[in-house]
């Protein structure tokens, strides 16, 4: 009996008193905002980077951009996300202290995600049978037209599940945004912990919310995979 009384009291203390559940809610909103916009930025950057890499590999054009793209991939994939985030916040944006830190987080996570998305897109493009490019070119289409109309649509379809998984990683990665003072979901839980001196409830709640989000996204990805499989079987 004592245990349940205790449980209830602690639950109230951690989530109800001072409207602490609002902290969690706002944190969730911030996490979703960062994830959403970073994903858009990441997909755009990743797509362009992949195009540069593939075009260089196939035609030898865009040499300088390709060198830059490889530098970008190496640096981003070779250093920890948290370090990148802090460098972008404390070093690169230090002359502009008035820039909203959420915007900075979106940029940092977008750049990071873009590097992984680039490799996803690149493998997607490489997975398309070379005969598709040849068929397009043999009809007189230019390299760019063939890329746009024939290769890319097929590649995107192939990489959708991998992109879904990248979004899931990105969502979880945003938990380090607290290091630059953003009250996202993880930091919100941590703030409650520091006020109530109670670690169990806020951290488990935060974990449960992440888990729910990930489960929803996973379900979305596997639904997508099944739908794509159906259209392949036609």
């Amino acid at each position: 009996m004592d245990f349940f009384m205790d449980f209830q009291a602690k639950f109230i203390q951690n989530f109800i008193d001072d409207n602490r559940w609002l902290l969690i809610l706002y944190g969730l909103r911030t996490t979703l905002t960062i994830t959403f916009f970073a994903l858009i930025l990441g997909v755009c950057m990743g797509f362009l980077t992949a195009l540069v890499r593939v075009t260089y590999d196939k035609t030898g054009k865009l040499r300088r951009l390709n060198t830059f793209a490889r530098f970008y991939l190496t640096v981003v994939r070779g250093t920890p996300m948290l370090v990148q985030l802090m460098i972008i916040y404390y070093v690169i944006f230090s002359p502009w202290p008035f820039v909203n830190s959420i915007i900075i987080a979106v940029i940092a996570f977008g750049i990071n995600s873009g590097a992984y998305v680039a490799e996803i897109f690149r493998s997607g493009i490489m997975s398309i049978d070379p005969g598709q490019m040849e068929a397009g070119r043999s009809l007189g289409l230019t390299y760019n037209q063939t890329m746009r109309r024939i290769i890319t649509p097929q590649a995107i379809k192939n990489v959708l599940p991998a992109l879904g998984n990248e979004s899931i990683s990105l969502l979880k990665e945003t938990s380090v945004a607290g290091y630059i003072g953003i009250r996202e979901l993880t930091r919100s839980g941590d703030i409650i912990r520091s006020r109530t001196y109670e670690a169990f409830f806020p951290l488990i709640a935060v974990a449960a919310i992440y888990l729910c989000l990930v489960l929803i996204m996973t379900a979305g990805v596997s639904r997508l995979e099944r739908r794509l499989a159906v259209s392949d079987r036609r």
Binding site: S138, G140, L141, R234
Partner: protein, 240 residues
């Protein structure tokens, strides 16, 4: 129409074409035969620059097409190509496969291209497949659609790269029949093939290639009935 002079092609150390000189007249149907690895596909692919020649010249309708600065895309519009593995675009419907290039290249309006595609589909009896995707079709249907996809560009010459080699035996006939019709209409055709019967029946001239050169060529009757070189005799003995 097509003039090839001293054409050589190597892939790294490996020399595939060791100097080809050949001339194809308007309206000719040239079959290219030879053992695998003889360079016949590479020869064909050098004609529309899918492979860039290492040296030599390829002329098409009076234009040197492997010179720097030539707009190869414009030239390819007049050279249709059919591949061994069809290479239809799986994400597009049959009609879209046929109309994509003419519309993208602004040679036909969308309406004209659709109408043209329907005419071509009607001709091969696949009107009902217009809105289906390629993976619904049999190999023979795919290859016939690949052929009319190339025809939709109204090319001056058609290049066929082993068009029946990837087909189940019962599908070969329908593809050869269509190719025969196109030949009778006067299309200039260069056909890399293993179908000796077809080569004999449809072509005006047969080139026998081995180890990167054209070893022997003649009209089909002479070439098949009266082979001169030991290599051709040997090849024909193996396949006939």
């Amino acid at each position: 129409m097509i003039d090839v002079k001293g054409l050589r092609k190597s892939f790294g150390e490996k020399e595939v074409l060791l100097g080809i000189d050949e001339h194809v007249e308007q309206g000719e149907k040239v079959a290219v035969i030879g053992p695998s690895g003889s360079g016949k596909s590479t020869f064909l692919r050098c004609l529309n620059m899918l492979e860039a020649p290492t040296s030599g010249e390829v002329w098409f309708e009076g234009e040197l097409i492997n010179a720097p600065g030539v707009d190869i895309n414009r030239i390819r519009q007049r050279m249709g190509m059919v591949f061994q593995h069809f290479n239809l675009f799986p994400h597009l419907t049959v009609r879209q496969n046929i109309t994509l290039a003419p519309v993208q290249l602004k040679l036909q309006t969308a309406g004209e291209a659709d109408e043209n595609a329907r005419q071509l589909l009607k001709r091969i009896g696949l009107t009902d497949k217009e809105n289906e995707y390629p993976n619904m079709l049999s190999g023979g249907q795919k290859q016939r659609i690949a052929i009319i996809r190339a025809l939709a560009m109204k090319p001056d010459v058609m290049l066929f790269d082993e068009p029946t080699s990837a087909l189940d035996p019962e599908m070969v006939g329908e593809v050869l029949e269509l190719m025969g019709e196109i030949a009778h209409e006067g299309m200039t055709m260069i056909i890399v093939t293993h179908e000796m019967g077809f080569a004999r029946e449809v072509s005006n001239r047969v080139l026998f290639m081995d180890e990167g050169i054209i070893v022997e060529q003649n009209n089909p009757d002479e070439l098949f009935n009266n082979p001169q070189s030991p290599r051709l005799k040997d090849f024909l003995a193996k396949i006939l």
